[in-house]
Amino acid sequence: MLGAPFRYQRVEVDGVGINAAVAGTGPPLLLLHGYPQTHLIWRHVAPVLAAHHTVVLTDLRGYGDSDKPAPDPGDVRYSKRAMARDQFGVMHELGFDRFTVIGHDRGARVAHRLALDHADAVAAVALLDIVPTRHLLNHVTRAMSLGYFHWFFLAAGDIPERLLAGNMDFWVRAMIERLLAPGTTIEPEVMADYIRCMSSPAAIAATTADYRAATTTDLADDDAGMAAGAKLRCPTLVLWGEKSFVGRNYAPLEVWSGYSENVRGTALPCGHFLPEEAPSPTAGLLLSFVDETW
């Protein structure tokens, strides 16, 4: 848990309880984490942002201490659309009808969908270390499928749940360590909390459904959106780790310019976990982005 000035509260959105921590005053920022993590990824960045802004940190549906509804056969319940609706609802409940959303990893996919589906509410969006789901899945190469092996494994029916049950300590550690730049570590108590939150059968079911949705519902939603010309129109900041798979294998600004009309961004000297590996530059870039766009 984050200490003062952060205060925790549970926000119910359409019957799903979302764990949220709030601090600061000023223009509101919503921060979303990725897999296999929680809002704690922002522990170094959020206090810096909260000196100037209202900062809302949540756990995504299915993750952390948020509710984990049982997955449905159509993968709708863990579509990015449903996960984005939760987060829009949280901000609305907290009284913020216009805000900036910042997401890392899965949280960035939710942020992308949130900015598309609730364009009036999103002043600006920052996307950390991803290229769009649709781009990834339309450009599967040997390197991509090896680099993103967990996308295919976690989406493969019931085998991930059966193999991971009871082994989440190993899995969560391995999944994080493989993407950290060499020489970086996560504090043991933080890692322990990531593992705690991922270990229940409900969490394993929810988080695998998140990945199944990427290859089914989300891809269909993204294809339909692109066919209808739905690009991001709000200011879009794209940050990535120069040592991450994204940094080594994609030209992120070029790719994102196909999905947003207003893109800027840069690489940071780290691996995948920008807010934990390079918190100061990450916070600095986010602050100036929000200053320029609010």
């Binding site: 295919f152 989406a155 085998i159 082994n167 391995a174």
Partner: protein, 290 residues
């Protein structure tokens, strides 16, 4: 489970575990796949051995055969093919036919490409050449091939993950890829799990898949670019995809490698030698007549 006599030969210091039965005709080598052993040929072996010499070997690193070397290099299909050609020569067979299923099919394909003077006929079952396989996997279809990516991960990661629940992992494929119920009875299934679940076999299997990702793919592509072709009669059989729309055309892919090609779509799952032994026996007899 079987009443075949176990043999082993030592070739270049590495043990090859095998069965050999029958006499006469063009000798035939049968090679199994993942996650199996030579036991996969228990129905096919006696039928074909009625009128010819049939040898059924465990692939290097699988079953009771030694791996050929450390790391993925020990599972380079060119190295494995060379080794099995030497093994057959050791048994007195300078020329022979080879039929392989799954991983065994990759070895059979490579043996036929690299040793046209040795391999008289080749059969490949429910497999594509590695380069074609990587090229064919596009979009979400990769979900059906997740093991290719998982098993090729570095740093002992898959070894450690699978090692925690090998029966769950290997059982998933044995059960999920079978359509003819009862084709892999409980005692056979248990033997596959025993054979594949040993730490050294898990490590071998992971290196075999790493070889496919980092060695075999390149090698196949070089051959593809120089227009290499299989010089002997080829049988390519695969499972009927039924209502799954394949993101590739197996017949077109095999036609790009083979001049004298027979194809057959088998009404079963992945484990053709155990699910459709009668049809496979007939198809192999037909191949060997060519």
């Amino acid at each position: 489970m079987n009443d075949h006599t176990d043999h082993s030969a030592v070739v270049s210091g590495k043990r090859v575990a095998y069965w050999a039965e029958g006499d006469g005709g063009t000798p035939l080598l049968l090679l199994h796949g993942f996650p199996q052993t030579r036991l996969a040929w228990r129905h096919v072996l006696p039928a074909l051995a009625a009128d010819r010499r049939v040898v059924v070997a465990d692939l290097p690193g699988y079953g009771d055969s030694d791996r050929l070397g450390p790391g993925p290099a020990g599972f380079d299909k060119a190295v494995v093919a060379e080794h099995l050609v030497a093994f057959m020569r050791e048994l007195g067979h300078d020329r022979f036919a080879v039929v392989g299923h799954d991983r065994g099919g990759l070895v059979a394909f490579r043996a036929a490409l690299d040793h046209p003077e040795v391999i008289t006929h080749v059969g490949v079952l429910d497999i594509l050449p590695t380069a074609d396989n990587w090229a064919a996997l596009r979009g979400p279809a990769g979900v059906f091939a997740f093991h290719l990516y998982l098993l090729a991960q570095p740093d002992d990661f898959p070894e450690r993950l699978l090692g925690r629940a090998p029966d769950v992992f290997f059982g998933h494929f044995l059960d999920g890829w079978t359509k003819v119920s009862g084709a892999i009875p409980p005692n056979v299934r248990a033997e596959y799990l025993r054979a594949c679940g040993r730490p050294e076999t898990i490590a071998a299997i992971c290196d075999d898949y790493r070889a496919s990702a980092f060695v075999d793919d390149e090698r196949d592509r070089v051959d593809q670019e120089r227009g290499a072709r299989l010089a002997m009669p080829v049988l390519a059989a695969w499972q009927d995809p039924c209502d799954v729309r394949l993101p590739f055309d197996p017949a077109a892919i095999w036609r790009s490698w083979a001049g004298e090609l027979t194809t057959e779509v088998m009404p079963c799952g992945h484990f053709i030698p155990e699910e459709q032994p009668e049809r496979l026996i007939a198809a192999i007899r037909e191949l060997l007549r060519g």
